[in-house]
């Protein structure tokens, strides 16, 4: 390459790339007329039959003339362009190269002469798009001639930033930390009192059972004469429990638990016995493996569990795992009841008061007998009324035919 400075212009010519090369082709101009170019910055790309290369600018200045178009092949030494070496840097094109002076800025600055213009900030690019402004028409006052938001606003005649004028500004993101929803509880009303923990638990348990099971109650009447004769100082409960266990062995579908769609029929009978704790509530301890016990064994176990229930000495194991429950409020004289099933069991037997009633016996005779109603609530999801009636009849048979 050779160049010949004139009073103000520096010439760019097709360089001699080798002794055997006589001509070269212009591949691409890196600068346009009016662009600022640094000394040694590539100004044009050329190719010969041996090599492709870039031609560095012989001087810093403004490109004043381009004489050979891209694609043309010319002889070595042909004048390609002129550079005005006395021009001052400034903006002619928005993407023009940098000022020669390295700005005393902490911001990253593209190395001089890479052909990139000063950056266009996001807000300027957006607003120029919104208003259809050609940024090359805007005088830049920022670093390296950058068009600032202020410059653009001035160019627009102080037309405002339209985006944030409209009221449909996007809603703010919620705060990263959410406000606690907790608020202090309302003070309890003056009248009434808070339910005890036990009452609330009983309540939750009962409501859940009512909402879960398809409750149905079947009643049979039983003659308690045989038990009355046999019971001595024992209550009716262990005898009825024994009769119930015997009936459960005949109809194991009642000795079952239903959880969701899963019915489990149990081999052993774990018999729950509801024990009243007076005003406090009710608890149902479980006689484990009740099928192994005689009525006397049952009586002893029930007595022990009831005593420990009232002195609050039951362990958690002793109030869980029941497979069938008997409730026995009959001592207080009630005649009938429809008990709520102890979930997830499928039935609960209610033993009501034993009262002397005239009943028809032995054909057409009337006799006075100690009678009771055996009321059983059962879950219609697990079984049907025929089975419930058969089961209750079996309980009655064992009661009426009690033989110790």
């Amino acid at each position: 390459m050779s160049s010949s400075p004139t009073s103000q212009a520096v010439e760019v010519t097709m360089p001699q790339m080798g002794v055997s090369v006589a001509e070269g082709t212009i591949v691409e101009w890196r600068k346009r007329v009016g662009d600022w170019v640094e000394a040694d910055e590539p100004i044009v790309e050329i190719s010969t039959d041996k090599v492709e290369t870039e031609v560095p600018s012989p001087a810093s200045g403004r490109v004043s003339e381009i004489l050979v178009e891209a694609g043309s092949t010319v002889d070595v030494g042909t004048l390609l362009a002129r550079i005005d070496a006395e021009a001052r840097p400034g903006v002619a094109h928005a993407d023009e190269g940098s000022e020669p002076e390295v700005p005393s800025s902490q911001f990253p600055v593209p190395s001089p002469g890479n052909g990139h213009g000063p950056p266009i900030s996001p807000v300027v690019r957006r607003m120029a798009d919104e208003h259809g402004v050609d940024l090359e028409q805007v005088e830049g006052s920022g670093r390296r001639g950058r068009v600032t938001k202020k410059d653009l606003l001035a160019f627009l005649g102080d037309k405002p930033d339209t985006r944030h004028q409209t009221p449909d500004t996007p809603a703010a993101e919620p705060a990263l930390h959410s406000e606690s929803p907790y608020r202090e509880e309302e003070p309890a009303p003056a009248a009434g009192h808070q339910l005890s923990v036990m009452r609330r638990q009983i309540g939750e348990h009962m409501v859940r059972s009512i909402q879960t099971a398809a409750h149905c109650t079947t009643v049979v009447e039983a003659d308690m004469s045989a038990i009355e004769a046999a019971r001595g100082r024992l209550s009716y409960l262990p005898f009825v429990a024994r009769a119930t266990i015997a009936a459960l062995r005949e109809f194991p579908m009642l000795n079952a638990t239903l959880e969701g769609d899963r019915l489990t029929v149990h081999d052993e009978v774990n018999l729950g016995i509801a024990v009243s704790l007076g005003d406090e509530g009710l608890i149902v301890p479980v006689v484990r493996n009740a099928h192994e016990l005689s009525h006397e064994g049952l009586a002893a176990r029930i007595k022990d569990l009831a005593e420990r229930a009232r002195s609050k000495k039951l362990t958690p194991d002793e109030v869980s795992g029941g497979t069938f429950t008997i409730t026995n409020p009959g001592a207080f004289g009630a005649l009938l009841a429809t008990p709520i099933i102890n979930q997830p069991q499928v039935a609960i037997l209610d033993l009501e008061a034993v009262t002397k009633r005239p009943v028809v016996v032995g054909g057409d005779s009337i006799a006075i007998r100690p009678m009771t109603y055996l009321c059983m609530s059962w879950d219609h999801r697990a079984l049907d009324g025929a089975l419930a009636a058969q089961f209750l009849s079996a309980v009655r048979r064992h009661i009426e035919g009690w033989d110790g």
Binding site: S121, P122, V124, R126, G142, T148, Y182
Partner: protein
């Protein structure tokens, strides 16, 4: 309205809440008979008695742990750390117990931990720190940092009444230097709302605590530029909309704080702006902070570490010229 120092505004707010609500009580080292290392609770033990103004052992984990228990039971404890730096000893109870209690058990923990923080008085590395960023990383805590006397009183009231644990950063350098008119009686400054300390159009300086005053001083007459100064007041929750509104207006932002740089409040604010206001930016978002070093004892070194008026001016000029 009476004029008060930042310090007496904190005392006044605390006293008003204690008078109004018997569940509010104070605990901390030497806060009773001695009135506190900085005298925030001076006279409290005489007015409220030793049952509500507890002198505690030098055991920050015990102070905060006790406060958590009291708060869960419905009291509203206000703990003083003698210096914010000592919160490190109570960190576990604060970030693992207090902060997570509502998430895990649904229980409110309405407690406040007061942190006398900041440097500028040759207190050295154990008495000068600004540890707020630790608590931004602990979801469940709220964090406030007043810069004026009026906000100091209003924010202590809001912090006490809030059902969450609140870390209250009170800058020691402001205690007796900052004065202002403070409303009488009880009032709240809402958590999560910025204060526009000065309106402007060319550039926004976002700051909090002691650096708000530095920002105002540095940009009061900055080559005729119109500089907006935003006082965050509340670091958690951040007033995102308040921040973005200013960014949309000025498009140039300097974030300023006295705490160290990496992963600080400024980093969070910058990231928020970069994500939510990218197309409103007309220059890089800049930070002026302490470098990532401990605070030196030596006065000239401390001045070199903590952001000064000239540092803020330089950053603003740089960005204004961009």
């Amino acid at each position: 309205m009476p004029e008060m120092t930042y310090l007496s505004a904190i005392s006044d707010g605390l006293r008003e809440e204690m008078r109004h609500d018997e569940s509010v009580f104070c605990m901390g080292e030497d806060i009773g008979a001695f009135g506190g290392a900085f005298k925030v609770t001076d006279g409290f033990i005489e007015e409220f008695g030793a049952d509500r103004v507890w002198d505690t052992p030098l055991a920050e984990n015990a102070i905060i742990g006790t406060a958590v228990g009291a708060a869960v039971e419905g009291l509203r404890p206000v703990c003083e750390m003698q210096f914010a730096d000592f919160i490190a000893c109570g960190f576990d109870q604060l970030v693992n117990v207090a902060a997570k209690m509502h998430y895990r058990q649904g229980l409110a923990v309405p407690m406040v931990v007061r942190l006398p923080s900041g440097g500028g008085f040759s207190g050295g590395p154990y008495h000068s720190q600004n540890p707020e960023a630790w608590f931004l990383q602990s979801p469940g805590l709220k964090v406030v940092a007043p810069s004026t006397a009026e906000d100091a009183k209003g924010l202590i009231a809001s912090a006490i009444r809030d059902p969450n644990p609140v870390v209250y950063l009170e800058h020691k350098h402001l205690y007796r230097r900052v004065k202002g008119e403070v409303p009488e009686g009880r009032y709240e400054v809402p958590l999560g709302k910025v204060r526009v300390a000065r309106e402007g159009t060319d550039l926004t300086v976002i700051s909090y605590g002691a650096m708000v005053g530095i920002a105002l001083e540095a940009t009061d007459d900055l080559d005729g530029a119109s500089v907006e100064v935003i006082d965050l007041r509340s670091l958690v929750p951040l007033d995102i909309e308040g921040i973005l509104a200013s960014v949309r207006k000025t498009s140039k932002v300097v974030v300023l704080h006295e705490a160290t740089r990496s992963c600080g409040v400024g980093a969070e604010v910058c990231a928020l702006i970069a994500q939510e206001a990218f197309e409103d930016l007309d220059g890089p978002v800049m930070r002026v902070t302490a470098p990532d070093v401990p605070i030196p004892f030596s006065p000239p070194l401390e001045r070199a570490v903590l952001p000064q008026v000239d540092d803020v001016k330089e950053a603003c000029r740089e960005l204004l010229a961009y």
